[in-house]
């Protein structure tokens, strides 16, 4: 059974034929398209390592069947800077030591980018409240427990994105 879909991945249209309807967005990215920046942690929607932006919203790629998202726009960690200057969220994670081993980091960064976008759209910005950041980021686990740095990085990244004015994250979903 040929299952043809088209996805826009990091700004590039990709037409492909799936040989199996079971393929999740996560497995498609990692195993078929060699975009291994998106990580497989639990593969059950519990750890957030596979977070990508799907049509501009953060979701767990492990629970999304690729076939069901024909036509979607996907942003992965590979598309965030694309060889250019670091995205403000990436820069903030580095500056605040928001990681140790780094395995969860792509998911953390994609989730933070999604969170900041949500704050702009829904008016749910965390402001300077670390409690709101922790709550909004609770879908991303860090086994190294770098949560203090992650929280500081996200608080700072919000300010950097706001200062960038043009919304650095809007480019991501364009």
């Amino acid at each position: 059974m040929g299952l043809s879909i088209t996805l826009t991945i990091n700004g590039e249209a990709r037409a492909m034929t799936l040989d199996d309807p079971r393929i999740t967005l996560l497995d498609l990215l990692r195993e078929r398209l060699e975009l291994t920046g998106t990580k497989k942690g639990c593969d059950r929607g519990q750890c957030g390592a596979c977070t990508v932006l799907l049509d501009g919203r953060r979701v767990n790629a492990c629970l999304a069947l690729a076939l069901s998202h024909d036509g979607a726009d996907i942003l992965t960690i590979e598309g965030v800077a694309q060889g250019g200057p670091l995205h403000p969220v990436q820069a903030a994670f580095i500056e605040h030591d928001g990681l140790q081993c780094g395995f969860c980091t792509p998911g953390q960064i994609m989730s933070a980018i999604g969170m900041i976008r949500e704050g702009q759209i829904w008016g749910t910005g965390a402001g300077d409240d670390p409690e709101r950041v922790r709550e909004a980021m609770s879908g991303n686990l860090c086994r190294c427990a770098a949560y203090i740095g992650i929280t500081e990085a996200v608080l700072d990244a919000q300010l950097r994105v706001a200062a960038a004015g043009s919304d650095a994250t809007r480019r991501d979903a364009a």
């Binding site: 767990n60 949500e118 879908g139």
Partner: protein, 349 residues
């Protein structure tokens, strides 16, 4: 995961025809379905992808003041719809206390109602479960069951329904709009989920092929907007299912409770409306002794199904706390930790 066929019907009618075929399952976001399929808990032979059915992704304010929430409206979109959240704040709070931001961005209204129990024995295909395999027995009985049901359970099944969203919905008289092979009909949410009895494999009123098209709240439900809360005890602060939870909504008139609504989550295989407790609130002062009596009434029929007697007193206390915070008034801004009993509590005691 088993192999399956895949179809994406263009209309509700086509979906129903496809969904009525034995072995079919409806796919919306898949946040629960794909998880269950990965574990081999359910093995549908065909997925009917309803995620793009037209017209089911809208939040409509009805001319009578009620609201119709399309079955495909995402949890996050509903919780952050400013008009909806202002009129039904306890529903928004319940939504935001559930799952994670990633899951709320995907998960749908209809899918939330139809999510399966998180009983570990249901998920573990090596264990006996009457839901998964009728007649197999129930390994939760006598097993690890400290989080299991305290109301409405049977010897065949002691699981709970995990939804937060459904708890304030049932308190506010939500109605489920269903389309099926026999046509369209409305089912009150209070009757939608079935208690286990002797046939725990039957979970809802939906017949084969039927699907949820919308959930409706009546105009009266907005009358509680200024005094409505959802509170939830979790084993960690965020991204966890309820040990017990409660929705409380009050309509105050001249300092007296004109009408009160109470429902409980995490206690039974359905969102549990506590009508006897509500009757004690009507005409009473919004004060601790009244709230405690209401809580006693809400849990009057509760009994442990295992190592979970603690949940009975915990549920009473969450009812009292939810009523206390509801009486104090709906917060102007969603609390930093939605539904947390530890958020904002010091302002009220």
């Amino acid at each position: 995961m088993n192999r399956f066929e895949y179809a994406r019907p263009a209309t509700v009618e086509q979906a129903i025809a496809a969904g009525a075929v034995p072995g079919s399952a409806y796919l919306a976001a898949g946040t629960n379905l794909v998880d269950l399929m990965k574990g081999g808990v359910i093995r549908p032979s065909k997925l009917i992808d309803i995620s793009r059915l037209p017209g089911l992704d809208r939040i409509e304010r009805l001319s009578d003041g009620g609201v119709r929430i399309g079955a495909l409206v995402r949890n996050a979109d509903l919780a952050h719809d400013a008009d909806f959240a202002r009129r039904f704040p306890a529903v928004a709070e319940a939504l935001l206390s559930g799952a994670s931001a990633q899951l709320r961005n995907a998960a749908t209204t209809g899918g939330n109602l139809l999510q399966r129990t998180r009983c570990g024995y249901f998920y573990d295909t090596a264990s006996a479960c009457n839901k998964r395999e009728p007649g197999a027995g129930c390994d939760a009985v006598g097993g690890e069951n400290r989080l299991h049901a305290i109301l409405g359970w049977s010897g065949q099944c002691i699981a709970t329904h995990p939804s937060d969203f459904c708890v304030p919905l049932v308190a506010l008289d939500a109605v489920v709009e269903v389309a099926g092979p026999a046509g369209r009909r409305d089912i009150p949410l209070e009757q939608f989920h079935l208690l286990p009895g002797e046939r725990p494999e039957r979970e809802t009123m939906l017949e084969a092929g039927a699907l949820i098209t919308a959930v409706r709240l009546p105009a009266e439900a907005a009358g509680f907007a200024s005094h409505a809360r959802y509170l939830k005890i979790r084993e960690r602060t965020s991204f966890a299912f309820a040990v017990v939870s409660a929705a409380a909504a009050l309509r105050l008139d001249g300092g007296v409770v004109a009408e009160g609504r109470i429902a409980l989550g995490g206690v039974a295989l359905k969102p549990w409306r506590a009508r006897e407790a509500e009757a004690l609130l009507a005409g009473a002062q919004p004060e601790p002794a009244v709230f405690r009596r209401a809580a006693e009434a809400a849990l009057e029929d509760a009994r442990p199904s295992g190592d979970n007697a603690f949940k009975i007193e915990l549920a009473r206390r969450i009812v009292v706390r939810a009523l206390t915070l509801a009486a104090a008034g709906t917060p102007e801004r969603m609390p930093a930790l939605p539904a947390s009993p530890f958020s904002g509590v010091f302002a009220h005691v």
